[in-house]
């Protein structure tokens, strides 16, 4: 029952994230989506993935809130309570097929490879490489934004 409720909440918050007019509220709904996804993972027996999802989601949402102030413009129309209720109902209706229908047939075969063994014995090289990739991407973004800022300052001085 809890899984069904969390799934319905997930679809509703996804609908709100897409259809709300204000960008900041949309980011808040996306934060709810990430939180419910992490909860779903934890309830389904994947606690490590839930922790990662939570950490990544919180980081993404924090950056989005910071940049949302820069990117968001004041919308012409504000979200009405009726629209909110309509979006909630739409999300609930969209979550019904996931709760009541079934297309995947699980055959009950389980493979017992522990997470720690899988991560460090089988995928150790991947783990190290992904750390390098993240560092490189962070460095690249920092350089691009620094050059952009520098060139805009140069232009303002020339003007």
């Amino acid at each position: 029952m809890i899984l069904e409720l969390v799934s319905a909440g997930l679809v509703i918050s996804a609908c709100l994230a897409i259809f709300l007019d204000e960008a900041v509220y949309s980011v808040a709904a996306l934060a709810g989506t990430f939180l419910l996804t992490a909860l779903l993972y934890a309830l389904s027996g994947a606690p490590y993935v839930a922790i990662f999802q939570f950490a990544v989601g919180i980081g993404t949402v924090a950056i989005l809130f910071l940049s949302g102030e820069t990117l968001s413009e004041t919308p012409v129309t504000k979200t009405q309570p009726k629209q909110l209720i309509g979006l909630g109902v739409l999300g609930a209706v969209l979550s019904l097929p996931a709760i009541f229908l079934s297309v995947s047939h699980q055959n009950g075969v389980t493979y017992s490879v522990p997470f720690g063994e899988a991560l460090w014995d089988l995928r150790a090289l991947d783990v190290v490489l992904q750390g390098l990739v993240i560092m490189t991407v962070a460095l690249g973004i920092g350089i691009v934004l620094y050059h952009k800022k520098k060139s805009s300052k140069k232009r303002s001085v020339e003007q």
């Binding site: 799934s7 075969v109 783990v127």
Partner: protein, 108 residues
């Protein structure tokens, strides 16, 4: 409860947002929803079969997703600063007046 259908619904919502929304931040939110739908499918498959390898792959997918998000966000900030708008249709096809102004400046 079927997580395949749930991830399909999430994917459909994300793709609908990508096709219809014109705000840059909404496009980013739609991309995040599509990525969440994909990872949800993999995590549920891995956890239902108790496959640790699947979960370890998912952590790799999370880090890749984070890198993609960071690059997209940097591009969004640069695009909004350059064009002065967050409307994606204006970025794809700028106003004809701007082009005319640029042409006259180039001629001068």
């Amino acid at each position: 409860m079927d997580f395949v259908i749930l991830s399909m619904v999430m994917l459909a919502i994300g793709i609908y947002g990508l096709l219809t929304q014109r705000h840059l931040l909404k496009v980013f939110v739609s991309i995040e929803l599509v990525a969440t739908a994909a990872t949800l499918n993999f995590v549920m498959l891995a956890s239902s079969a108790s496959i640790g390898v699947g979960e370890s792959f998912l952590i790799l997918a999370f880090s890749t997703d984070t890198c993609v998000s960071a690059v997209i966000l940097a591009l969004l900030v640069i695009a909004s600063r350059k064009y002065g708008t967050t409307d994606i249709s204006k970025i794809v096809s700028p106003e004809p007046e701007d082009e005319e102004e640029e042409n006259t400046e180039a001629d001068a």
